[in-house]
């Protein structure tokens, strides 16, 4: 039973995006699309035909499957409602981050492969952001890993008792900035528009259509919910089930979904209250996140708090 928990992420990921959109619309005084709209979009895209540029190579065709399957593998490493995971001892946070990086690498290649200016622009920006985000994300995860004495996600979840120290607050704030950058949300990228001058993630997907686009979008939703889940696992794992009977699984599912909705609300709040930053100001924000993560690691290692 616990081995199918990754299906929760895969099934609910578009819904989470719909919820964020709905929260955002309500905060801006609009009615907004319904929360199931991402599902309708995905179904419609799966039915449409593919349009592939003549000059693109096999990389362009194979990328959606690589992106989707690498994200899928990453979800199997993450404890969602129980502390046991499908991959057991292989569920390592370093492996997880770099499996996600594999998908990103191919996405950037595909952006270049189609040969349009916007694709190359998107790839270049995405890789710049990735370089800046990765140290912040790794260091904040390392703080949790050191305090748990293991880089295995289920061990980190189990050692939740020691996770209330100043350095974890710092790591959490760095991780939130990293999530915002990774999911392409507002201070970094605008998920709602395809404005040529500012887009990062959309730029790389511009040439995709039909089921390829659907897979890429779905993978993006899954990645977003996956990162939320990692934040929950590491920083507030309260309520996660350690046994596998139906009652405890049901309660932990309910608690998990509540936490996800809360994070979605926070994301919508940040998106509604902030303005998008200029691209060349991003190093300042992400450098700040890096410094926070560094400080959290330093104070944990040196002072033990």
């Amino acid at each position: 039973m616990e081995y199918f928990q990754f299906l929760i992420i895969i099934i609910f990921a578009p819904l989470v995006n719909g919820i964020i959109k709905k929260f955002k619309a309500n905060m801006q005084g609009r009615q907004g699309p319904g929360i199931f709209q991402p599902y309708y979009d995905l179904i419609r895209l799966f039915k449409k035909e593919l349009v592939i540029s003549n000059i693109s190579s096999w990389i362009f065709r194979v990328t959606p499957y690589i992106v989707f399957s690498s994200t899928l593998v990453a979800t199997m490493m993450v404890p969602v409602i129980t502390d046991k995971v499908l991959f057991g001892n292989m569920a390592d946070i370093i492996a997880l981050i770099y499996i996600l990086a594999l998908g990103r690498f191919f996405m950037a290649l595909a952006g270049l492969d189609a040969g349009t200016a916007f694709g190359g622009e998107g790839s270049s920006r995405e890789m710049t952001v990735a370089i800046l985000v990765e140290p912040a994300m790794m260091l904040s995860l390392f703080t949790a890993a050191i305090s748990a004495g293991s880089t295995n996600l289920s061990n980190i979840v189990n050692s939740s008792a020691s996770l209330y120290t100043p350095s974890h607050i710092l790591a959490l704030s760095a991780f939130i900035v990293a999530i915002i950058a990774e999911t392409g949300r507002i201070p970094v990228d605008n998920p709602d528009t395809h404005l040529e001058l500012t887009m990062i993630h959309e730029g790389m997907l511009l040439e995709y259509s039909g089921r390829h686009l659907a897979l890429m979008e779905w993978a993006h939703y899954i990645k977003q919910m996956l990162l939320f889940t990692i934040a929950i696992d590491i920083f507030f794992p309260v309520g996660i089930a350690s046994s596998t009977d139906i009652a405890s699984l049901a309660t932990s599912t309910a608690i998990y979904l509540l936490k996800i909705v809360f994070i979605a609300f926070m994301m919508a709040f940040i998106e509604s209250t902030r303005a998008k930053m200029r691209f060349f100001q991003l190093p300042s924000l992400l450098g700040g996140a890096f410094v926070l993560a560094l400080l959290s690691l330093l104070s944990y290692v040196i002072m033990g708090k």
């Binding site: 120290t165 300042s284 450098g287 330093l298 104070s299 002072m303």
Partner: protein, 219 residues
């Protein structure tokens, strides 16, 4: 209340907050938000003193906490805000080094302090973190003073340094006698007022608060 503060190590969190608001000063560009960072810094300092007062059951510390809140948390920020509004400047000009670099350097400063104090003097004070953090705050304040061009941001650097110094003294001695604290605070207040007046004079004479212009000879 006392047990609650100790079990949740509230003092550590407050000192970490003081450090964070100081580091945030490096990343902020608008003068008003810099002043806000200082205000939060002083409020956290005052809360920290109150928390120590509860733990140590020392009544004179409540007074110190109130004085800090009143002078550093209310009077000085209001005064600085008035100056900023009178000068009609909202943005700090680019500091000598970029924001990212100054953030990184202040992070490194904290690291240096942590490492330097790891095997140095050990003070069995109220918190294992407060001394390290206070020295780091002082160094970052000094760093802000060195790297900023505007008079107001340099004053803010001085104020951060003073908060750090206060915390150093406090974490080593559980607070100096009230009369000394009052004297220091009064000094500070006067200093800020004089510097504020200077700033306005500089602005009047040079039409800018950029301190580099002071080195231009006037004939």
């Amino acid at each position: 209340m006392k047990e609650w503060i100790q079990t949740y190590s509230l003092i550590d969190f407050l000192s970490m907050g003081i450090l964070l608001t100081t580091i945030a000063m490096n990343a902020l560009k608008r003068l008003e938000s810099c002043i806000k960072a200082y205000t939060y810094n002083s409020w956290l300092l005052s809360m920290l003193i109150a928390a120590v007062a509860i733990v140590a059951e020392d009544n004179h510390l409540y007074l110190a906490s109130l004085i800090t809140l009143f002078s550093k948390g209310i009077v000085i920020p209001l005064f600085l805000k008035r100056i900023v509004r009178r000068m009609k400047v909202t943005h700090d000009v680019e500091p000598y080094i970029s924001n990212t670099l100054s953030l990184t350097i202040s992070g490194l400063l904290v690291g240096v302090v942590y490492v330097a104090l790891k095997k140095g003097i050990f003070v069995a004070g109220f918190s294992s973190m407060a001394l390290q953090i206070s020295i780091a705050v002082m160094l970052i304040g000094l760093f802000i003073m060195i790297t900023r061009r505007k008079a107001i941001t340099q004053v803010l650097g001085l104020l951060f340094m003073e908060n750090g110094l206060f915390l150093i003294g406090f974490s080593l001695t559980y607070g100096m006698p009230a009369i000394i604290e009052l004297g220091v605070l009064f000094d500070m207040l006067m200093g800020v007022i004089i510097l504020g007046i200077f700033t306005i004079q500089i602005k009047r004479a040079f039409a800018s608060t950029d301190l580099d212009k002071l080195s231009i000879l006037k004939g």
